[in-house]
């Protein structure tokens, strides 16, 4: 122990301790040593698992024993692209992710605007807590509560009928899925949008007003373009989270509500076909790569 302590470089001590002299001589060594553990973790856990996933996608399973057969082939990808069902599922997933993202952007912007630019400090704290409050509860509990609202004898139909309207009957449909996703991911859109709106300099807004721009003009030409990277940053969350989710489609989706996540889940959990699941999991990665490229063009990473 004592030896170890002595060998450890001291933060201050001039040239007396040989190690600090060493670090002084090679200034790149200190950050290298500092970064090695997290970098190794990143490479091993993030990168290696992705590479394994990519490799596994090119294997197949023995149809009978469902054991993995390491024979290099592209059968899984051919199935995904040639089978109309998978094409439908992929486009359904992308459309769902886009619809959820658009809905959340529309809902989050006025809310974030109020939080960042209108509300008092006290109000701001309260609203922040309100936005984050749902994240304290379990994801499953929140989805199940939506089932209680949307199902046939649920709150929604009951309320509609008690004011004399026909029941909506949207439980277990893609509409239900869209509602639940939009609700669940909303905080992930509000927070980056809020951060971006808060950073819009008041001086620019005042300058625009001084030059005769009315409120809407200021919003459209000054605030919105400056806040857009925040919205795009939020959309990365809502889009990618929807793209990979399987719990909501299983619980609130109906017949014909499979998403990419559901297919991955059933191939791992039910069919035990890991290679096909891996191939299917590459699809959202590819979609997100394209999405992130576009987001980067729109300056989303500066807003994160």
């Amino acid at each position: 122990m004592a030896v170890e302590a002595a060998r450890r470089p001291r933060p201050k001590g001039g040239g007396a301790v040989p190690f600090s002299a060493f670090f002084w001589r090679f200034p790149w060594l200190r950050p290298l040593l500092l970064l090695t553990p997290p970098l190794a973790w990143f490479v091993l856990v993030y990168f290696a698992s992705l590479v394994l996933l990519l490799i596994a996608a090119f294997w197949t399973t023995d149809p009978f024993t469902t054991q993995i057969v390491q024979i290099w082939n592209t059968d899984n990808f051919q199935t995904i692209f040639n089978e109309p069902t998978y094409r439908t599922i992929i486009s359904r997933t992308v459309l769902m992710a886009a619809a959820v993202t658009a809905t959340d952007a529309v809902l989050a912007f006025p809310f974030a605007y109020f939080m960042a630019r209108v509300a008092s400090r006290r109000m701001q704290t309260l609203l922040f807590a309100a936005v984050l409050l749902p994240l304290w509860a379990s994801y499953l509990a929140r989805v199940y509560s939506w089932i209680l609202i949307l199902n046939h004898d649920g709150l929604l139909n009951w309320s509609l009928q008690s004011i004399g309207l026909p029941p909506a009957n949207i439980g277990y449909t893609n509409v239900a899925m869209w509602l639940v996703f939009s609700y669940i991911w909303l905080p992930f859109m509000i927070i980056p949008t809020y951060a971006a709106l808060e950073r819009v300099p008041e001086s620019l807004v005042e300058a625009a007003s001084d030059l005769g721009a009315r409120r809407w003009r200021v919003l459209r030409d000054v605030v919105l373009p400056l806040a857009l990277p925040g919205v795009v940053a939020g959309s990365i969350f809502t889009f990618s989270l929807t793209l990979g989710d399987y719990i909501t489609p299983i619980l609130v989706g109906g017949a014909g509500s499979s998403l990419i996540g559901t297919v991955v889940y059933s191939n791992v959990g039910i069919a035990n076909n890991i290679p096909f699941a891996a191939a299917m999991a590459m699809i959202p990665i590819a979609i997100m790569a394209v999405y992130l490229l576009i987001a980067q063009r729109l300056g989303a990473f500066e807003a994160l």
Partner: protein
């Protein structure tokens, strides 16, 4: 490290696959599984103190496990599996020297047997085996060429459950779940083996297809079944994956008709829901669970002691009532009645041979048909077809 161990595991798996392929028989007798020549023990030695089980949730409930541990000093460590396929994957490599037994359902059994993951068991060591119902002594899903790869445990039919308010006249045929006039009222089990339900219906409604066994379908028969179920999707409001899901669906009037287990019927009736179950004129599919012994079981004596214990009439009755299923031990009926009056008849524990003849028990669909030809559609295609059906 990670890659190395993965490669090792895969190497073993590939070795096993190769083993599985060496024994190609065919003809009148079925293909011999790789573990067929492992001789089971003649007597049960003293317990090893531990027993590692893969089980369905509720199959190792403390209410009967406690007495077992007291009697045998075998401590039961159970892992609950969520699906048959999870059981198959946990049992890879003969249980890996970790697992002793698995409570596999019929749709997993042949995969475990032909994967070499389980080995023959000596029924002579199970004192209650002679009182098992005749069918469950040697059902085709766990007994190959007269060799028993496990001891039957419990079973249940996939009945047709319906809401008596919506359907005052009980449906007499499975055609009700394929009838377009019931659009939006229907549910079905979200699992590839459900394809067999469609095949069973077609075997009666379209005899020209020549379906004899709903688990052995030729390409033509399989395609016709998939087409039927794809049409059925338009009628489905929601597929159910867990028994509790279906109970919620029926309670909230989201669905009014669909395949179910007697467990759901019992729970729904107990909560006052207006439901009833029936076995329609076409018959029904069913499941039968088996305790199977891992090829590399580290505690075989405890495993035999466990199988003896769960086969006794008392434990059979307790488990049946706890889970909502039917014991294979015919002596369990009286015990069930003692625990809960009327339960023996409710779960068909006193069922006649005529009742069994209506039920086609789950078994793994494999490429080899009963006649030895290789024309049947194997399980992996059932799985991908199921994805297509659900859309």
């Amino acid at each position: 490290m990670k890659l190395g161990s993965l490669a090792a595991v895969l190497a073993v798996l590939i070795g096993l696959t190769a083993c599985g392929q060496t024994s190609t028989g065919g003809g009148a007798t079925q293909e011999q599984p790789p573990t067929a020549n492992i001789k089971p023990p003649d007597k049960v030695g003293p317990g090893e103190g531990q027993l590692n089980l893969i089980a369905w949730e509720g199959y190792t409930d403390v209410s009967w496990v406690k007495a077992f541990t007291q009697q045998t000093s075998c401590v039961v460590n159970a892992k609950y599996a969520g699906s048959s396929d999870e059981m198959v994957s946990l049992m890879k490599d003969g249980g890996g020297g970790q697992w002793d037994m698995v409570s596999a359902s019929g749709d997993a059994d042949l995969r475990l047997i032909y994967g070499g993951d389980v080995k023959p068991m000596n029924t002579g060591l199970i004192p209650d085996w002679p009182s098992f119902d005749e069918y469950f002594k040697s059902p085709p899903y766990n007994t190959i060429n007269g060799i028993h790869y496990g001891i039957s445990l419990q079973w249940g039919p996939n009945v047709l459950l319906y809401n008596t308010k919506k359907f005052p006249n009980p449906p007499t045929s499975w055609s009700a779940v394929y009838d377009p006039s019931n659009k939006g009222l229907v549910t079905a089990y979200d699992y590839p083996i459900t394809i067999a339900d469609g095949a069973l219906y077609l075997s009666k409604s379209q005899p020209s297809l020549g379906i004899k066994d709903p688990y052995e379908l030729t390409k033509k028969q399989f395609d016709a079944t998939v087409a039927l179920l794809t049409q059925q999707r338009q009628l489905i409001n929601k597929y159910w994956a867990l028994g509790s899901d279906e109970i919620t669906l029926f309670k909230n009037n989201d669905v009014f008709l669909g395949a179910a287990w007697p467990y759901q019927t019992g729970q729904l009736k107990a909560s006052g829901a207006p439901v009833e179950e029936t076995i329609p004129q076409e018959g029904a599919t069913g499941w039968g669970d088996t305790w199977m012994l891992a090829t590399k079981a580290p505690h075989p004596n405890c495993a035999y002691l466990w199988t003896q214990y769960v086969s006794t009439a008392k434990v059979q009755a307790e488990q049946a009532l706890f889970y909502g299923e039917t014991p294979v031990n015919t002596k369990a009926c009286a015990q069930m009645e003692a625990l809960q009056a009327g339960s023996c008849a409710q779960y068909h524990a006193n069922a006649s041979a005529q009742y069994f003849s209506q039920i086609k028990f789950w078994k793994t669909p494999i490429a080899t048909c009963d006649d030895g030809s290789k024309n049947c559609i194997p399980y992996d295609q059932w799985v991908s077809a199921w994805t297509t059906i659900k859309g």
